[in-house]
């Protein structure tokens, strides 16, 4: 599953950040999950749980995952809208799941139909914070 690839990325990054911050033990990891990427939260959390166990530095960390709603802003007319307002086919939703940027191939501004919009929130996976002991 793609969720595993992203969970591996989070664990690799948390390890790197812990080393750079000279942490002896990581006690908490907060991850933001952008809605646009439509990650299966349960699979992602399960993958994280498994991968964290294999890392001595992260083994005792409390992993907290927060969902962030995806929001778009049109660069042409300035209007803002939410991803949840989109009615996308399963095939398109899956394409966006793998590479969120392909949203630009399928989504248009609901007001002026421009493809020139930005994702202002909730794009993908983000390591928001790391807590630990030095």
């Amino acid at each position: 599953m793609h969720e595993w690839a992203l969970a591996e990325a989070v664990v690799a990054t948390a390890k790197k950040a812990a080393h750079e911050g000279h942490l002896q033990e990581v006690t908490g990891i907060t991850i933001k999950l952008g809605e646009l990427q439509q990650i299966e939260r349960e699979i992602f959390e399960f993958a994280l749980e498994q991968l964290v166990k294999e890392e001595p530095l992260l083994r005792h960390a409390h992993v907290h995952v927060e969902l962030e709603r995806a929001q778009f802003r049109c660069r042409a007319c300035g209007s803002e809208w939410a991803f949840e307002e989109q009615d996308l086919s399963a095939e398109i939703a899956e394409a966006i799941h793998f590479i969120p940027e392909v949203a630009h191939a399928y989504i248009r501004c609901p007001r002026c139909h421009s493809p020139d919009f930005e994702v202002i929130a909730g794009r993908g996976v983000w390591l928001a914070s790391l807590k630990g002991e030095e």
Binding site: I99, E118, G124
Partner: protein
Amino acid sequence: MDPRVAIIGERLKSIKKIIAVAAGKGGVGKSTVATGLALVLSEIGYRVGLLDLDFYGPSTHIILGGPEEIHPTEERGIVPPNVHGIEFISLVYYTRERPAPLRGPDVTNALIELLAITRWGDLDFLIVDMPPGLGDTTLDAIRFLQRPRFLIVTTPSRIAQETVSKLVILLKELGVPILGVIENMGRPSDRAQRFSGVRFLGELPYDEGLEGALGDPKSFLQTEFARTLREIALDLSQQAI
């Protein structure tokens, strides 16, 4: 903190050499050279991957051919489908026939995502079809592909060569290794400009039969273009790589 960047090295670990095929300008046949190089290296017996980073004008899938219903399989990431013996990844799997109007940060994001989730097999070579120009993707690719070696494509035209000179200067400033320059659409009457300090690898002839062979690797490999490219690939695989 973007978690994806830290995993890219791990994803590229199974690849021995990464060759970025670049050109200063569009229209010089860069994608044809990149795809052709992948095909001849595979024919010689190497394990080869092809990654299309020309997000605005992806075309390696047209040159390579392959059934449209092919998709990467999902297995702790995406596994590149084997298309005519080549592990092939392109954004067209996800955009299909639609244009993808991406701005700079989107290009960077899509590139990082592709590199972070693609699980390449054990490859001797990953050939990367770079976008034309010296913009975001070129700089990102240099940064994230972890020291790719550049193969530069030009034509006998002074217009192409002017831009190639700039690309050569930029790559040297960035300390990126350059394998050499290939001149495409060569005409016997023209002498290619030689770029100082950069190896000239050869001249690919203008081949009338090439257009008809697009999408059909068997025919493609029998063209004069592919025959010449094979000699260059053999030379490259024995010496510089």
